[in-house]
């Protein structure tokens, strides 16, 4: 195994992991506030088609990314209305959102089939650092959204654990009644967290159609929304662990083809994310660890103010 091979493989793991990371971070924020959103696949798909369409028509990938975020926000607003406003079941609403998003994106995208994107988002070179041996190529010659995702991860960690907002978000997810007693507007916090999650899912979709595979093809999210749900559990609702987990899962996507030459079946690797998630679930539910790394206590429960 030579250096060029290692550099290329790690680099591609970062690229494949970036959309996973963005959507995972969004879902972590939403779930930390107690709202599970299974509609990620749908929000990503709509973000992908909106991002692609706007980039193609306007010639600006940045406007495309903005449109992708807005698409994610508008879909998640439906989820927020149904689950927080109407207090309906989060799981049902999320699954409906996935189906709705996939269908709507296919409908909108009919005209974008077979049209290449002439203005994809180019990688940026960080002066000085990019010339470092080995890590220069891996870390400092990447697309801007990769850096954006890393920065967002750090920001979310700071917000969640070091600020009053973070305390409000986490308390709403753990014990909304107590939070409300302390003067936190539970519904308001939850709505903002769901919308933020939608924005990040939308950007993750835009990343797929603008950066990763600059084209629109129906169904291009290919089940990533479900991998993200698994990733949230696998990273124990922690944004920094999510960084490691997302790039690990991205690396699995990449490695399945490198390992094929060694006679290792790609099906084995493809099972890994789900097996790893089941293991993570077992860990979170064991009594010793439950206190520190388990799911937010009130996750999935509609909150009825008294």
């Amino acid at each position: 195994m030579d250096t060029a091979f290692v550099i290329a493989t790690i680099g591609r793991a970062f690229t494949a992991g970036t959309p996973l990371l963005l959507a995972t971070l969004g879902e972590i924020i939403a779930e930390r506030a107690g709202v599970m959103n299974l509609g990620i696949e749908g929000m990503m798909a709509l973000g992908a088609v909106a991002g692609f369409g706007v980039s193609l028509e306007s010639g600006s990938p940045w406007l495309g990314m903005l449109a992708a975020a807005l698409a994610g926000i508008s879909l998640s607003a439906i989820h927020a209305f149904v689950t927080i406003g109407m207090r309906a079941g989060q799981i049902v609403s999320g699954i409906a959102l996935t189906m709705f998003g996939l269908g709507l994106s296919a409908l909108i995208g009919k005209g974008y089939i077979g049209r290449p994107l002439q203005t994809p988002l180019h990688s940026i070179t960080i002066p000085g650092l990019a010339d470092l041996p080995f890590i220069g190529d891996i870390l400092f010659r990447r697309d801007p959204i990769f850096y954006f995702a890393i920065i967002i991860a750090a920001l979310i960690w700071i917000i969640l654990y070091k600020t009053r907002w973070g305390i409000a978000i986490r308390s709403v997810g753990e014990n909304p009644l107590a939070a409300e007693t302390m003067g936190v507007d539970v519904a308001w916090v939850r709505v903002w967290c769901v919308l933020f999650g939608g924005a990040l899912s939308g950007i993750a979709g835009g990343y797929l159609s603008i950066v990763y595979n600059p084209s629109w093809i129906e169904g291009m999210t290919a089940g990533r929304g479900w991998i993200v749900i698994a990733l949230v559990i696998f990273s124990f609702w922690n944004p920094l662990r999510a960084v490691v987990a997302a790039f690990l899962f991205g690396g699995i996507d990449v490695m399945q083809f490198s390992l094929q030459s060694l006679g290792i079946s790609p099906n084995l690797l493809r099972m890994f994310p789900y097996v790893a998630t089941i293991v993570a679930l077992l860990i979170t539910s064991s009594s010793i660890t439950r206190r520190h790394i388990s799911a937010p206590e009130a996750l999935g429960e509609p909150y009825q103010p008294r």
């Binding site: 060029a4 091979f5 290329a8 493989t9 591609r12 494949a16 149904v82 109407m86 207090r87 309906a88 079941g89 049902v92 609403s93 699954i95 409906a96 189906m99 709705f100 269908g103 296919a106 409908l107 995208g109 009919k110 089939i113 077979g114 290449p116 797929l208 990763y212 595979n213 600059p214 084209s215 093809i217 129906e218 169904g219 291009m220 290919a222 996507d253 990449v254 399945q256 083809f257 490198s258 094929q260 030459s261 079946s265 790609p266 099906n267 509609p302 009825q304």
Partner: protein
């Protein structure tokens, strides 16, 4: 209160399911023609149902069939149609019933190999309707088969690959280990060997007909392993895009487009490719049905019939950027003597377009990977052998998963 909530969410989900199911079937109605004609003569109409395995927007297999359907409906006023897309291979029987009973189709085209057995059963169940199964081999009195075969084009792409490769390693991104794809890979290998006897082909399997992300990763992984030419069978332009990205960064990777015109996804990377045209096949079958002379048979169309076309854009066989290097590359052919690869390609095209097909890539001597002689010198593989092919030529490195 809780009950009311779950009732609301049930209504929501039910509505979504209903809307999704409803919108996935587009029935094309054309009532105006019938209305104007009714006071003169009774106009005979044919309603054709199409079942697709993927979304019609895949820019690959289902897209190509759908393009032909649209063209035919536009040109024949007596033709009506209904389509159902993204039908799982195990779900075909139900959809056939739907098309026959509810949509009142006279003929149903099932366009994926996995629909074969369900189509056969449906043909027995509805003896007065006609069925056509694409890419299968089971036929009945009212069930015909048809296929547009591309291996001749892969052979021609192989000639180009042999002339262009510098590393001598050709990568192939392959969907599923089926005879069709084994045929494609072997044809590519035969062309490659003719120009560049030492070059070899490596394969990555996707186990999916349609997955742009996997195709991208497989292509990237082949490039890291040293391949500088990529061909593929998968229904998206991902491989061409990967080639273009590497070429744009200064490391040329040549690609061959598959099924749809993908040159626009890789102006500097895409050399040529395989284009399919189902129009002729569908038109012939439907015109015969309209005239009442259709008989269930097998149609296996290639270059000569116009179902397969060389190229990656509608009006060019070879990307103009690569014409010069192909003209410069010369080889010694036992029959043609010293000939440029460019001339050889067009010689082969004209030979394979002759009514008698003067040349076929699968002509002996051919040895498989284990060194076993599969075709004796001068022997041509027949359609049966090609239809069930499960071995690789000796300049292919990958293995066939079993």
């Amino acid at each position: 209160m809780r009950d009311r909530n779950s009732a609301i969410s049930f209504v929501f989900v039910f509505t979504f399911i209903f809307v999704t199911a409803f919108t996935s079937v587009f029935a094309q109605e054309n009532p105006t023609v019938a209305a104007t004609a009714s006071n003169q003569v009774i106009v005979k109409k044919i309603k054709a149902g199409f079942i697709y395995v993927g979304p019609v927007a895949d820019f690959g297999w289902s897209y190509a069939h759908e393009q032909s359907r649209k063209a035919l409906v536009a040109s024949f006023p007596w033709l009506e149609s209904a389509i159902v897309e993204s039908v799982a291979e195990s779900d075909c029987a139900r959809v056939i019933d739907r098309l026959i009973v509810e949509e009142k189709c006279d003929v149903v085209f099932t366009t994926s190999f996995g629909y074969m057995n369900d189509t056969l059963k449906a043909a027995a169940r509805y003896p007065d309707k006609s069925f056509l199964h694409c890419s299968g081999f089971k036929r009945a009195k009212n069930l015909g088969t048809y296929f547009a075969e591309l291996y001749q084009l892969y052979y021609l792409n192989g000639l180009m690959a042999g002339a262009l490769t510098k590393s001598g390693k050709i990568g192939y991104v392959a969907a599923h280990p089926t005879p069709e794809i084994v045929r494609h890979i072997n044809a590519l290998a035969i062309g490659l060997r003719e120009v560049n006897p030492r070059a070899r082909i490596d394969i990555k399997w996707l186990y999916s007909w349609y997955d742009p992300a996997k195709a991208r990763e497989a292509a990237e992984s082949l490039i890291t392993e040293g391949c500088d030419v990529l061909a593929f069978t998968e229904d998206s332009p991902a491989v061409v895009q990967v080639g273009q990205e590497h070429t744009a960064k200064g490391k040329p990777v040549y690609t061959f487009s598959h099924y749809s015109p993908m040159q626009k996804y890789g102006e500097d990377s895409c050399v040529s490719g395989q284009l399919v045209d189902w129009n002729g096949l569908y038109e012939g079958i439907l015109l015969q049905m309209y005239a009442g002379v259709w008989k269930a048979d097998d149609r296996w169309w290639m270059l000569k019939e116009g179902a397969a076309k060389l190229g990656a854009s509608p009006d060019q066989c070879i990307n103009p950027k690569f014409v010069e290097p192909l003209k410069k590359a010369e080889i010694q052919d036992p029959v043609l003597g010293k000939v440029s690869v460019y001339d050889l390609i067009f010689k082969r095209v004209s030979q394979m377009s002759e009514p008698g097909v003067l040349f076929d890539p699968f002509t002996g001597p051919l040895k498989d990977q284990a060194g076993k002689e599969r075709l004796k010198p001068g022997e041509r593989a027949d359609q049966n052998a090609l239809w069930t092919i499960d071995w690789f030529i000796d300049n292919v490195d990958g293995t066939l998963p079993r």
